[in-house]
Symmetry: C2
Subunit: 446 residues, 2 copies
């Protein structure tokens, strides 16, 4: 066997050790339950796809993917960079197995073949819910209702789902009077509003390095994005009075209808707001776009985002299918839950450990762990080398067990066990057949 | 945008469409709950690792991996081919975060960079539980108890955990009188016992293309593997009487002790058996090996296998740490559950769909789906284009909903909903606030 060098993790990749992984996994399970509550069904696709499927020959995508090197060069394979392209492939490949509208969710790793950068991962978990094959506004409303439900059920109270419609932004060049080609540059500047303020935006809009608008044009842009209103309907009215292009009008009508849908679906008024400055980076959105901001932690950006993309599925080979969906920012959401101490579960560690100190007590200790598990209490029996009570208790404390079950020589011969609450350090001795009920009392008291 | 070719899935890869993925996901969740019940904690590691970590420079491994091609050639990355090597890396990298014995489970995709073959996947899900850092026999017993618990809780009744100890096999050359170098060839032949019978084994053992034993040597091999006994203790006694090398004696002592541990941990006698012919392909096992066979479906082989590997962690850079673990054969287990119609859950589809037929009824329909979800019933509102009852019911039936909630013009104005049982086709009309309790009655009756 060859000698090993010191092992390491490549940069841009991350391990999730048990403490973090348990929290992440609980969060994902909770989100999954909500997706299923909303009628979404699970899908899984390989991490590896044909390069042609992923990029469609587009050089922009080619730069972003991890290609796979094989001795056999008859295939060109690569790692997926999102879950949307595989979704497009699936809806195109299985016309007989899938009924539309197709509501699917998928959790999976995706990879970005960029150079590793500080704070940017090259592998991360994506968690998407999409409705493919429905152009109905109700589908958009369902996505917002789902986002609201997920946030509430994870335990977040102070969040806001910001909603915009790309059609409004499409009407902006006509209203202001600049060429369509400048729209992206204008939106990039508007996106900095919170950071550089209204004066900063005005200045940058006129800059040669940005959209290079005239003073008057820049003013009109700021007038529009600066509209203040006390509620969503009033905001729509004010904006409609300013912009009256056909594009924008279609967007306004959709927004007006959405207000009613969200009310019927039980999404509280204070949990969402129209915001014309919500742009989303991805160019493929065609209608509504959604972002979820934590009002106590706005600096991390959106934790749950999405929108309508009526052309993307066709572009990636999936036929002419309108679609709308949303994606959980798994790492950001997890970070926010930690930071804001938000929790959907007790968050307590409800495990027990059986400690034992001599060969003769082993059978009794095994009986104890069997009883605990039979009663549904996650528990283990000490497997290490420490022979002393002190040494084994140190292990139990370091691993955050809630209760320890001690089986010494005396207990083994008496048919009892000593149950120790690892928080209060109180202990009681019970008959071995009562181990589970006794430990449950400790766990229940937490 | 470049024109798209017809998309396809590369050979050796597989999609899990919702019906199959739901079953797989439920199965994985059930297994996970049992792993946690036994005190295992979750770990996640990237799909991508340094090539050096994965192969240790061993050319055998190099042939099996998918390498990753990057423009920047300063790194050599590849896809992991199992979860054991990443475990070895983790225990070596985080000495301060991990306490030993470390009981972790991990679910994740792994890749084999072989040429695609019929029935062999190049990507599959691996699901492992391992105890690292305990040389105690109790840890081996815990793994067997876990295997038993998982099988029972998935709903399997007729299964057998076959247990062997590599140390016994290590004593075989001495006992028979052939050179150690022939052991692998001997075991490969013995492995065919069920297929070619005792005469076939005898013949092949003497063949020049196999182990080339003498007739007498072959006879002694067959004598050993053919020992019949009415129980595990008797089997041990008979085998011990035959082989008395030091190697084998250590193995026999471990097996004898295991019998008691399994009894204390509540593993029923009829669910496991010693079997000297259970070899396991992987050369890295050093002590006990385990295989789980379904007695109603023996031809698919083991669905849950493992063993002790005391040298592997060190070989892969993880320090001198004994380890024992087991791995679920996810695809085989899923296949067996289907084939044997084994189920741990009701297996019933407990979802409802709200149907609606005109714009004016939409708000009432949205109210209905809100009520259903508020009461924890997975449900959706029809998002397609069909406007007729017939068309929407066809969608509901095709998607296996248990109940449909119909909101027509009449219902919308009366504040009611018609609830249709999609099995019996019986229907009742209820006030809209009673939608959830009425649907629950249908779901409860299934």
């Amino acid at each position: 066997m060859a000698e090993r060098k010191k092992v390491k993790l490549p940069s841009g990749f991350k391990d999730y050790l048990p403490e973090e992984e348990r929290k992440r996994s609980e969060m994902l399970d909770a989100i999954k339950r909500n997706f299923e509550l909303f009628g979404f069904v699970p899908l899984d696709t390989p991490g590896v796809e044909e390069e042609q499927t992923l990029t469609g020959g587009d050089p922009e995508f080619k730069k972003q993917i991890f290609k796979i090197k094989k001795s056999d060069e008859s295939e060109s394979l690569a790692l997926r960079f999102d879950l949307t392209v595989p979704l497009a492939r699936v809806v195109s490949m299985y016309p007989n197995e899938i009924t539309f509208p197709f509501k699917r969710y998928q959790i999976g790793k995706v990879w970005r073949g960029e150079r590793a950068q500080a704070g940017r991962f090259r592998e991360f978990l994506q968690f998407d819910a999409d409705v493919v094959g429905s152009g109905s506004l109700l589908a958009d409303a369902e996505i917002v209702a789902l986002m609201n439900q997920v946030m509430i059920s994870l335990g977040f109270q102070n969040f806001l789902i910001k909603i915009n419609n790309r059609k409004i932004l499409g009407g902006l060049p006509n209203y202001v009077g600049f060429s369509k080609g400048k729209l992206d540059a204008v939106l990039r500047t508007v996106d900095k509003w919170d950071k550089i303020g209204i004066e900063g935006v005005l200045k940058e809009l006129s800059s040669k390095n940005a959209a290079a608008l005239s003073k008057n044009e820049a003013r009109r842009v700021v007038d529009f994005f600066g509209i203040k209103a006390s509620n969503n309907r009033e905001l729509l009215r004010s904006a409609r009075a300013l912009i009256s292009t056909d594009d924008a009008e279609a967007g306004f009508a959709e927004m007006e209808a959405l207000i009613d849908h969200l009310a019927s679906l039980g999404v509280p008024d204070d949990k969402w707001a129209f915001d014309f400055a919500t742009v989303r980076g991805l160019a493929y959105y065609t209608g509504f776009v959604f972002e979820t901001i934590l009002t106590d932690l706005p600096e991390i950006g959106s934790v749950f985002s999405g929108g309508r993309y009526d052309n993307l599925v066709e572009h990636f080979g999936g036929g002419r299918l309108p679609a709308v969906g949303a994606s959980v920012g798994v790492d950001r959401m997890l970070y926010a839950m930690e930071k804001l101490e938000v929790s959907f579960s007790s968050g307590k560690n409800m495990r027990a450990v059986v400690l034992h100190f001599d060969e003769g007590s082993l059978a009794a200790a095994e009986r104890a762990v069997y009883e605990l598990r039979k009663n549904g209490i996650p528990s283990e029996i000490y497997l290490g080398k420490e022979k002393t009570l002190k040494g084994q208790l140190a292990f139990a404390v370091k691993n955050n067990y809630a209760a320890a079950v001690l089986i010494g020589e005396r207990e083994a011969s008496a048919g009892t066990a000593t149950i120790k609450d690892l928080k209060s350090y109180k202990q009681t001795e019970v008959a071995i057949e009562h181990v589970a009920s006794s430990v449950k009392k400790i766990l229940g008291g937490r």
